[in-house]
């Protein structure tokens, strides 16, 4: 395993000379992404807040996508998934991904439904 590290990230755009260098490179990238998130979170640019995509603010979509990007690099480079066999990688990644998408779809749709019941129902919660 000591020699089996794949040293390319960004689909081969960046190639590191050693595993240690790759680790620092990934750290720099993760810090950069976190910094973007924090700056966006503090300033909340009006254009991103007002635009809605698929019922959610564009800003929130950006946060979720950046989170998935970070998760990818933590799992692939810190947890060495990049160096594992693709069968192991698929078993580990796709099982939760499938189940999580399924669960969040059901719960969020249900939550939205209850929100509308509260909003348009005959009872008002104004006391």
């Amino acid at each position: 395993m000591a020699d089996g590290h794949k040293l390319e990230i960004f689909r081969g755009l960046v190639k590191f000379k050693s595993n240690t260098q790759k680790i620092w490179g990934v750290l720099a990238f993760l810090t950069f992404v976190t910094a973007i998130e924090v700056v966006l979170g503090i300033y909340k640019p009006a254009g991103l807040v007002e635009t809605h995509v698929l019922g959610m603010k564009l800003l929130n979509w950006i946060f979720i996508i950046l989170t998935l990007v970070k998760a990818y690099y933590i799992a692939w480079d810190f947890m060495h998934l990049r160096d594992e066999k693709s069968s192991l990688r698929r078993a580990i990644v796709w099982t939760p991904v499938f189940l999580v998408i399924y669960l969040s779809f059901i719960l969020l749709v249900e939550g939205d439904y209850i929100y509308n019941v509260y909003k348009d129902g005959f009872m008002a919660w104004n006391f």
């Binding site: 395993m1 000591a2 595993n19 240690t20 680790i23 620092w24 750290l27 993760l30 810090t31 976190t34 910094a35 998130e37 924090v38 966006l40 979170g41 503090i42 909340k44 807040v49 929130n60 946060f63 979720i64 950046l66 989170t67 970070k70 998760a71 933590i74 799992a75 480079d77 810190f78 947890m79 060495h80 594992e84 066999k85 069968s87 192991l88 078993a91 580990i92 099982t95 939760p96 189940l99 999580v100 669960l103 969040s104 719960l107 969020l108 249900e110 939550g111 939205d112 209850i114 929100y115 509260y118 909003k119 919660w125 104004n126 006391f127």
Partner: protein
């Protein structure tokens, strides 16, 4: 690296020598555990999403809740959580470096990197404890209505939050804490808030430049401010004074917000804590030379997987609790 015994004869596909996933037993089991743990956390976060969608227009705004930094006064939303995130990512990096040094059989380097990882984990757990303490203590105080909604107070001119202590009147009253030692012994009571509802209402009436802010989020993404007259009307629904947060009441808004905060960050904090403990055990093993004798540092790699997982979960908690 193998925990299975191989006989040394030529191994065929069904003879037990086949390793379809190319990973040792221990590593596979760690991965199985992490997958199941990931699903547990996903369940919590999905439940959080459910409650949040359910109360979409009255949910507290995280930026207005987590605004403190230790040793500094003032309003710094996000800064401290960002720092905590960075600490955790940093300790993840020292962990990979320890694993990397382990592959190269450098005992000294593994010791130092493990040590740095443990320190990082301890700083994170400490920060989380501080965050909890600040959250529980609260800062402005609020009024809860009969319907369980939270009313906060805002200065009409500056638009800044006003603490109850800044305007509430002191009205002498005879209501004292009910203590077990001089009341009914099986009936306890949490400490009374610093002010009674009557004191807050009287103080509000005496200060014409204070308005009430409701939980409702308006079109512009801010909480709705009531006019002076609406505020006075709203106060007639007041039922109790809330300072800080517990599992039943909190001054920040929806009760579920505090419940999920305690539950999710608590569960994650417990993972970090147990990660630090496991790291410590492995650290001492490295110092004692256990893995040097064994000939490989795979235990460091396995505990590293757990540690990165904790970091991975935090990335999601950070997004869904503090950013979105």
């Amino acid at each position: 690296m193998d925990t299975t015994v191989t006989t040394g004869v030529k191994e065929n596909v069904w003879g037990g020598g086949n390793r379809p996933l190319g990973a040792s037993y221990g590593k596979l089991m760690m991965w199985f555990f992490l997958v199941s743990d990931a699903l547990t956390f996903s369940g919590f976060l999905a439940a959080y999403g459910f409650s949040r969608f359910k109360f979409m227009d009255i949910w507290p705004i995280a930026d207005e809740v987590f605004t403190h930094v230790p040793f500094f006064h003032g309003n710094y939303p996000m800064i401290y959580v960002a720092f905590m995130t960075f600490i955790l990512i940093m300790s993840s990096v020292t962990m990979v470096l320890a694993v990397d040094a382990g592959h190269k059989m450098k005992q000294k380097a593994v010791i130092w990197y493990m040590f740095a990882t443990i320190i990082g984990g301890a700083i994170f757990v400490g920060s989380q404890a501080w965050e909890w303490a600040t959250f529980i203590k609260g800062d402005y105080g609020a009024i809860e209505t009969k319907g369980g909604r939270i009313l906060q107070f805002v200065n009409a001119e500056t638009g800044e939050r006003v603490a109850l202590a800044d305007f509430a009147k002191t009205i002498p009253s005879e209501r004292v804490d009910h203590e077990r030692k001089n009341g009914i012994w099986f009936y306890g009571e949490t400490a009374l808030p610093s002010f009674s509802v009557n004191e807050v209402v009287a103080g509000f009436k005496a200060n014409p430049d204070i308005l009430i802010r409701t939980e409702t989020i308006g079109e512009d993404g801010h909480k709705t401010l009531l006019t002076r007259q609406e505020s006075l009307d709203k106060l007639s629904d007041a039922s109790q004074v809330v300072e800080g947060a517990n599992l039943i009441h909190n001054e920040y808004g929806s009760r579920l917000f505090a419940d999920f905060f305690f539950f999710i960050t608590g569960f994650h904090g417990f993972h970090v804590f147990s990660g630090v403990v496991i790291n410590l055990i492995i650290f001492f093993n490295v110092v004692l030379g256990t893995y040097e004798k064994r000939g490989h540092y795979e235990m460091v790699e396995k505990v590293g997987l757990y540690w990165h997982f904790v970091d991975l979960v935090w990335v999601f908690v950070f997004t869904f609790f503090y950013l979105v």
